[in-house]
């Protein structure tokens, strides 16, 4: 990475211009404008990442132009970013043109700092200036150039603006002029310690290498080892000591330091045109993240998104029509009459159109109950997702989650848990410590209902005044109580959380439509065969008497919960698939088998009840047998104990009577 090739071809002797930047900032527009029609696209050696090369002649000098894959920082995460960094660090560029989006200059400028820090010959192209100006944003390019110490040009390459300035900057580039950016004294001390130990020759500035070493960049460690030889052991020892000392917040500190530098650089550089107020999206974004205003906004989003739209429209209006009118009044009687006419064997008739029949139960549950509920949930979810609200939610709940030993990062598995707890359990692996992963797994297994379960429960309980309030209070209380207990039982360090916040925007119809259809497509393909299999198993259980045996086995628990014996089947189904169990509860309620107290107790217990088979298997995979079995037993015992207690309290207090 750090050494020039021994033999250079005529082409490799040409000065190189490397284009670098985040995706969708206009790199390819500039590349095409510079190089014209004659370009080559080839895989970067040893990877499947494509790299474009071409040539440009500027003021009579022929340059080789390289378009790198999109990258967000010099600390690579994807293969594309690794390739882009390798190109930057090994190609000995005459000029590296960093292209950024003027509208997102605050988010993208930290990478400019990294590039300059690395000693690369940077020219900064602030692109899409026309759009920024349209929203009243003014960027003082000469002032930014003065502060950065590298050539800066304002451009709108798609509108053919800024090319002349860029050509002049490339042609007259002076590599001797370079600014340096200082960090806090303690961080500077660590950087200096490492740079003093590095005595080899590098094409990249040692300060940049020191920061990457501290962030445990494996590629950089390998390269430094190759250059330093025996001295590497000492460097590694120093890095380990620094990483250990700063184990709680190293990445956060470095990011915040760069943000601090960028804020200083942009001070006085960006301004809004007089007469234009702060954009509404920016104001709303700030309000979403402040506890006093953020919590009411969250409640409004939940009320309209989940309660009114999913619970009221999806689980009410749509299910009433599909289940009550279409299936109960038309399709089921028609199927039953066909079955009576053509299916001579009793067992076969039962299998297809009986109580647990493939058509009368499996298809009806999937199409008439679950699909409309999940469909409306996915619409609401996709709208909220597309606005960019979730990262703000993560920052909002960060301080609450810290009480549980979690950080705002845990919002990702929690939010995904409302879609599917199994997948969310897997995502807990993105949390930093084992402690956080276990706490998040317990909370997912216990207190986060999946989308279909949530929709059905909302629809059922919204018809009984007060029931939904009790259910919500119980689930929130359990979530807080178990979270607090878990963090006390498993003490550990307070996790740090930092996340880049994308701009808040109006949801785009196309995005919402595509995301909703994608999720519904895969969800329906997933549940449809499972619901058919479930109805066959139920039919087999009924024929063989096994189902009755299981129900009798659960009889004492049902009595303690104050529930009809048939509710046992709902819990058994719930273990098979959470949504199947919820649909069973819906069936019981619409048949008038449950009192308001029984409905509330059943809904709370079913929500807290054990994770479904798939989630349990995922828990075992992620946490191992011992932890997953402990969680399983705890959740089962807790759910039934809590249900019994709730039944007792509601009956004694005469609530919902």
């Amino acid at each position: 990475m750090f050494q020039k090739p021994l033999k250079e071809s005529a082409e490799s002797r040409e000065p190189k211009i490397i284009l670098v930047g985040s995706p969708n900032v206009g790199k390819s527009v500039l590349f095409n404008a510079l190089t014209g029609a004659y370009t080559t696209v080839s895989n970067y050696p040893g990877t499947s990442v494509e790299v474009s090369r071409g040539h440009a002649t500027i003021n009579g000098c022929r340059y080789q132009v390289l378009d790198t894959p999109g990258m967000y920082s010099l600390m690579p995460i994807t293969e594309e970013e690794r390739v882009a960094r390798n190109m930057l660090f090994s190609e000995s560029a005459h000029v590296v043109v960093h292209i950024l989006d003027a509208r997102n200059i605050e988010r993208m400028l930290p990478m400019t700092i990294q590039l300059i820090e690395s000693g690369l010959p940077v020219v900064l192209a602030v692109n899409i200036m026309d759009e920024a100006e349209r929203v009243g944003m003014a960027i003082d390019i000469p002032l930014l150039q003065e502060k950065l110490g590298v050539p800066v040009i304002g451009a709108a390459f798609a509108r053919k603006r800024g090319f002349e300035e860029l050509y002049r900057a490339i042609d007259g580039f002076d590599p001797s002029v370079r600014a340096s950016f200082g960090y806090a004294p303690d961080l500077e001390r660590d950087i200096n310690l490492l740079t003093e130990q590095m005595q080899g020759e590098y094409l990249v500035d040692k300060r940049s290498l020191a920061l990457l070493l501290m962030q445990r960049d494996e590629d950089i460690h390998r390269q430094v080892m190759a250059v330093e030889g025996e001295r590497y052991a000492g460097i590694e020892k120093s890095v380990s000591a620094i990483v250990f000392d700063r184990r709680a917040d190293l990445h956060l500190r470095i990011s915040l330091e760069r943000k601090h530098v960028c804020r200083g650089l942009l001070d006085g550089v960006i301004s809004q045109h007089t007469g234009r107020r702060t954009p509404f999206a920016e104001k709303l974004s700030t309000l979403c993240m402040r506890p006093l205003t953020g919590l009411p906004i969250l409640l409004v989003a939940l009320y309209f998104g989940l309660y009114e739209f999913v619970g009221g429209f999806g689980a009410g209006t749509l299910v009433d029509f599909l289940e009550g009118t279409l299936f109960e009044e038309h399709l089921n009687p028609w199927a039953e009459s066909l079955g009576a006419d053509y299916l001579r064997w009793e067992w076969l008739r039962e299998l297809v159109v009986g109580e647990y029949g493939i058509f009368t139960l499996g298809i009806r549950y999937a199409v008439a109950i679950i699909l409309p509920i999940v469909g409306t949930f996915f619409i609401a979810f996709s709208i909220i997702e597309d606005t960019g609200y979730f990262p703000r939610l993560a920052l909002l709940v960060d301080r609450i989650f810290k009480w549980f030993g979690l950080s705002g990062r845990a919002v990702i598995p929690m939010v995904l848990g409302f879609g599917c707890d199994t997948m969310a359990t897997m995502v807990t692996r993105t949390l930093e410590s084992v402690r956080e992963r276990i706490i998040a797994t317990v909370l997912l297994a216990l207190a986060i209902p999946c989308s279909a379960q949530l929709g059905v429960i909302m629809a059922l309980l919204s018809e009984v005044p007060g029931a939904l309030v009790i259910w919500t209070a119980c689930i929130v209380m359990v979530f807080l109580l178990i979270g607090l207990l878990a963090s006390r039982l498993m003490p550990g360090e307070q996790p740090m959380f930092y996340m880049e916040i994308p701009p808040l925007r109006l949801p785009q119809f196309r995005n919402v439509l595509v995301k909703t259809l994608t999720r519904m497509h895969w969800y329906f393909l997933e549940i449809f065969p499972l619901f058919i299999i479930a109805s066959v198993l139920l039919w087999a259980g009924k024929i063989s008497g096994l189902m009755d045996g299981l129900i009798r086995l659960m009889e004492p628990v049902m009595i303690a919960l104050g529930l009809p014996l048939q509710t046992a089947a709902v819990f058994i189904l719930g273990f098979f698939r959470r949504d199947f169990g919820a649909a069973g509860l819906y069936d019981m309620q619409t048949s008038g088998m449950l009192t308001p107290v029984q409905l509330t107790v059943a809904a709370v217990t079913l929500t807290l009840f054990v994770p479904c088979v798939a989630q349990f298997l995922m828990m075992q995979k992620e946490r191992g047998w011992k932890v997953s079995l402990l969680i399983f037993l705890f959740v089962t015992g807790f759910a039934f104990a809590f249900g019994c207690l709730l039944n007792y309290v509601l009956l004694e207090a005469g609530v919902l009577a």
Partner: protein, 60 residues
Amino acid sequence: MKCGMCHREIPERLPDAASRCGSCPGGCRKVHCPYCGYANPVMPKYLKKLVSKKSDDGRE
């Protein structure tokens, strides 16, 4: 594709067999964002045709 959580551009590569959750019958259909870990659903082929290509300068 763009991540639904952090809105960063991510490569549309499904995870290798070892890192799949295995909960979807018929195979994995989720791309986990390498930056934030969020699970993004993979668009079915028929939907891909409906989505027009985005220009490189970030404009629709």
